[in-house]
């Protein structure tokens, strides 16, 4: 049994913990977060409110738990959009290397990369109304070229290998080869990239909801909790510190997980470590 990279273990534990918190928050939080009770506002941490309450008397711990749920849902669906559309495009481009399709897909990708993505995301959510759905779309669109590029880059060298030639002589078409033989062999690359995009998605969601263009009230989100806490930073700094810490630890965990997965899944690196 090979020893797993330390980064992988730490990253996996942190990510799993946040996922667990988000799942638990679906069915249970210490307090409801939709109710406003002014008499309970800005309470310090106590037995009833582990982390205290915010300016509307909502339990901070419960808000953070549901915030995890919002962040993970947005980032996860945005990554799903990127994989769902980007990977087929990348595979098609690689299968038809040098064709017009390849050229169009890759030039189109260059173009999206040239755009300042956050500006366009802000534009989309601003024009079509701020909502979690539009935030997901805005983040997801920029995941498409990322996954297309990774899939194409991973697939191209595979197409020159003997076993692909064998599959072609066996009469399989390009699409079938892409799905049956190429895709499983670039899975490692895609998993690592998905982890990275997931963490970028968390940051983007936080930024969008911080400027009020993400999930809308009463749905709690870490970014908006920060925005609301900003005016109270003088008197109640913890309200601004805790949601930020949640973002940092979650993103750090995902980045470590991505690094660790890359090390663990890269056979060249594995040999060097052994």
């Amino acid at each position: 049994m090979r020893r797993l990279p330390k980064a992988l273990v730490i990253g996996a534990v942190i990510s799993a913990a946040f996922l667990a918190i988000a799942l638990v928050s679906l069915v249970w939080t210490p307090h409801p977060v939709t109710g406003v009770s002014i008499s309970e506002r800005l309470q310090p941490p106590s037995a009833a409110y582990v982390l205290g309450t915010d300016q509307l008397g909502r339990d901070l711990a419960s808000m953070l738990m549901i915030g995890a749920q919002t962040s993970i849902a947005v980032a996860l669906i945005a990554v799903g959009i990127g994989i769902g559309l980007g990977v087929p495009l990348g595979l098609a481009a690689a299968a038809n290397r040098g064709s017009l399709l390849d050229e169009i897909i890759m030039r189109g990708n260059d173009l999206i990369f040239a755009f300042p993505s956050l500006v366009i995301a802000i534009l989309i959510t601003a024009r079509y109304g701020p909502s979690a759905t539009n935030a997901i779309l805005a983040i997801g669109i920029f995941n498409i070229p990322v996954f297309a590029r990774v899939a194409r880059g991973g697939a191209l060298p595979l197409w020159t290998l003997d076993y692909i030639l064998a599959a072609r002589t066996a009469g399989k078409g390009r699409a079938r080869i892409s799905v049956e033989h190429i895709l499983p062999n670039i899975m490692n690359l895609l998993i690592v990239q998905a982890t990275i995009q997931f963490s970028l998605g968390i940051l983007a969601e936080a930024a969008l909801s911080y400027v009020g263009l993400g999930a809308q009230p009463p749905t709690p989100s870490w970014g908006r909790m920060l925005a609301e806490a900003q005016t109270m930073i003088y008197t109640h700094p913890m309200l601004a510190i805790l949601p930020g810490l949640a973002i940092v630890v979650m993103v750090l965990g995902l980045n470590l997980l991505g690094d660790g997965l890359r090390d663990a899944l890269d056979p060249r690196l594995r040999r060097r470590l052994a």
Binding site: L111, P116, I120, I122, R127, A206, L213, Y234, I241, G244
Partner: protein, 313 residues
């Protein structure tokens, strides 16, 4: 070389055309009418019609696109609906906050990242290297607007060395630079973390090359080999990242300018969004995208000058 520049320039203009179509389409074409979006639900038919005429919405979409682009090319960015002044005037006013801020942040980021990346690479595997790698992991994970809030908490609220926001204007350059310092640090930290990591890995890559071994063999110390030979060759990937970071700095500035209440382009776009002033949003976004694409172009040309091999591709 001329041919290379010509090809890059062609692709630059193509990018700009597509970018303008995308922005125009996002704002004006799909779905709904910009005038009713701007005025909200309670607008009367007369005010709607008046705004439509003012915005030139009576024409076809194609006519409007060319009117907009033609205007942009001649420096006419339209008239802001809420401010009632030409957008070009607003932009000229505010670029003197955003541009210095971006340059300030880029300078800070480079000044931090270069020595840190070089030190980490030179001490590969050592405690310093681990420290740098851990620190930069953290730097990448911190949202810059939250870091900005922490800076305000420490330096403005607790220590009271800086003001928490606002911009005094350039009449007093010292005060102006001081007010841009916290925002620039907030913008620079994540970028410096990325840049330091790129610097480190690019240097490690070149340090493994034969010519470095030769340099060491002929008696150069490790330090001399790094500074005289490795550094220059490691700069190419580092330059790419610096070019790309410009676009992140512009986008990041939208949010950071809001944290610090700086009257820059980012805040202008954001105010345009909240006031539903689509003329401002459309033109300023196009300007930002234009800046990013032009910088990418300049970086490409800079490479070709640094590395002649790239010209032939």
């Amino acid at each position: 070389m001329l041919r290379y520049i010509a090809i890059r320039a062609l692709s630059l203009s193509l990018s700009l055309v597509v970018a303008s179509v995308v922005i125009f389409a996002l704002i004006e074409v799909i779905p709904g009418d910009p005038a009713s979006f701007m005025l909200g639900l309670n607008a009367t038919d007369e005010t709607l019609a008046a705004l439509r005429t003012e915005l030139g919405l009576d024409g076809s979409k194609l006519e409007r696109y060319f009117a907009w682009i033609g205007g942009m090319l001649t420096g006419d960015f339209g008239t802001s609906y809420t401010y009632r002044v030409p957008v070009a005037e607003l932009v000229l006013d505010r670029i003197w906050v955003s541009l210095p801020l971006a340059i300030y942040a880029l300078t800070l980021s480079t000044l931090i990242a270069f020595p840190v990346g070089i030190l980490a690479a030179a001490n590969r595997g050592g405690a310093l290297d681990y420290g740098v790698m851990g620190g930069t992991q953290l730097g990448i994970a911190i949202p810059n607007f939250w870091f900005a809030m922490l800076l305000v908490l420490l330096f403005a609220v607790t220590l009271q060395w800086f003001s928490a926001g606002g911009f005094p204007g350039w009449e007093n350059p010292g005060a102006a630079i001081k007010s841009l310092t916290l925002p620039a640090i907030a913008l620079a930290l994540p970028q410096a973390s990325i840049l330091a990591r790129v610097m480190r890995s690019a240097l490690l890559e070149t340090l493994g090359q034969d010519y470095i071994r030769t340099a060491r063999a002929k008696g150069l110390t490790r330090r001399q080999a790094v500074l005289r030979h490795a550094l220059k060759n490691a700069l190419i990937p580092v330059l790419t990242i610096i070019g790309l970071q410009f676009s992140f700095l512009l986008a990041g500035a939208i949010i950071i300018e809001n944290v610090f209440f700086l009257p820059g382009l980012g805040r202008l776009i954001f105010q345009g969004i909240t006031q539903r002033d689509l003329v401002v949003v459309e033109s300023v976004t196009m300007l930002l995208v234009f800046a990013v694409i032009v910088v990418t172009f300049l970086v490409d040309i800079a490479y070709a000058i640094v590395d002649p091999r790239l010209r032939r591709r």
